[in-house]
Amino acid sequence: MASIMHILRASPLELFGLELHIPDGFLNLPVALICWIAAIGLIAFAVRRTQAELGERQIPLMGIMAAFIFAAQMINFPVAGGTSGHLLGGVLAAVTLGPWAGMLVMASVIGVQALLFQDGGLLAMGANILNMGLITALIGFGLYRSVIGQGMPVRLAVVGVAAWISVMGAAFVTSLQLWLSGTARLDVVMPAMLGVHALIGIGEALITVGAVAFISRARPDLVAAEQYTGHTDRGWMIGGALAALAVVILSPLASADPDGLERVAEDLGFLESGQSAPYEIIPDYTLPFLGETPLSTIVAGVIGALIVAVVAVLVARALSSRAAASR
């Protein structure tokens, strides 16, 4: 009941504001499963890395920091006319805890939000964790890592930019997933999501910068370079930059020229309009679906949704192994 009153009084900004927790029913089975696979892969990798880096210390640390993120999301600041901004926290977690611990922390928060509070669906949890927890942490850490040697003002500026891009990236991927599931029209939902989250991203940037500024003044050791001795420079820098570039370049493509994307989709047989028999975008929710439409179309669409996370990780690993081999 309280939620209905809240919704009725809410402004458009608040309605869409940081509401990236996709409930069940809005993603179809294939999209949800693919996102789960990607999320599980990244989480498994993160678990191994944190085990190696932190050892037994990791559990109380990450458990309590997960509780911190949850609690910190309660800290708001009034924006205008009754709306307030909140923290998502992916970049903050990654910059202060490192990418892998950051990802696990965010994944735990999002998982519990879905499981206990119905904030986000259970089938959609993989996608939510991917969008809000994994992609944001990777973008944040990737960009921050590239300026780790610089002075504080530069680092804070990059943290702010990374936070903004992370929110935009999450909104971007969410829109793609909704479109691929046949839930929404891309040329409507993408500009709406990106537009709203462009503003919300500013709030995220400012809060994250404020938090990192505070932390680096009181405990500079928690955001210093020494923390990241396990990672190589170039891999992260390039991976993070690529991820950010992907978001930045693909977003205007998708929103400014929706006809372009839809035309491409039509040419590939993905969408057909004007036919007498309704051709369903997703004719069946079972595996035969993959066979009926060209596999290349699916791969193209899925890569658009996963490119941010996968590219960053693959490039980072490839470059780090090459760098290690060349030593």
């Binding site: 209905i4 089975l29 990791q58 458990g63 800290i75 669906g121 929404a184 029209r185 999501m193």
Partner: protein, 268 residues
Amino acid sequence: MMHTHLLDRYREAQSVIHRLDPRVKVVVTLLFIVSTALLPDGAWFAFALSFILALSCSFLARLGVTFALRRSFVVLPFALAAITAIIAVPGRPLFMWQIGGTTIIGTDAGVVRFLSILARSWLSVQMAIVLTATTNVPDLLHALRHLRVPEVLVAIVGFMLRYLSVLADEAARLLRAREARSALLANRRGGGSPGWRARVAGYMAGQLFLRSYERSDRVYNAMLARGFAGRFLAINPHLMREHDWWALAVTVVALTVVQLAGQGFPPG
């Protein structure tokens, strides 16, 4: 002094559902959600059957029929996104708009798609609510552990839930302290710029971060002092009993019926 009532989603009661093995409840919920996702657009009869199933679970769990209904209005922002499905799916046109130079066509298939999405979403939330209301946190964690979720993750979630109210209380007190100093004079505008307010919110988050981080150090030391060496050992209090298997079987049968209904059996 103050308590944030965060974790009171569990409703204490004696019921058939409450007594089920938590693993079964988790699996049943997931099966139900997957079944709902598999139902095609416009399978109204199957949706109705699913609704009856969900309602029965709610009833059997002694939650009161309206308990789950009340909490399911959380999907509004995404419902607004899904409304665009009306103009996205090809089909028989229902209405047309001219906006600028483009024509927007709403179709019957689009409306069916939109309503089906809402139905699936609502049904899924119902079941998820029954799960949370009938299973307390320790049992849920046990269930996850037995369902092969990695021990590390389960332990992290366990810690998180343990300290959630503590840290949420600290966050609430920080917010109160800020509120107490957020004064305005009668004859001038104040409040500071949104940028400043965001920065202060960031400071608060940073402060909370450091307090949490240092708290985790203390917790870790306490664990070491009690002999913690990196692994959690848990005693499994849950054994699958006859009624658990029955519940699972009934679910599978019921959902199969739902799926058949969704595919159009019996025809006509």
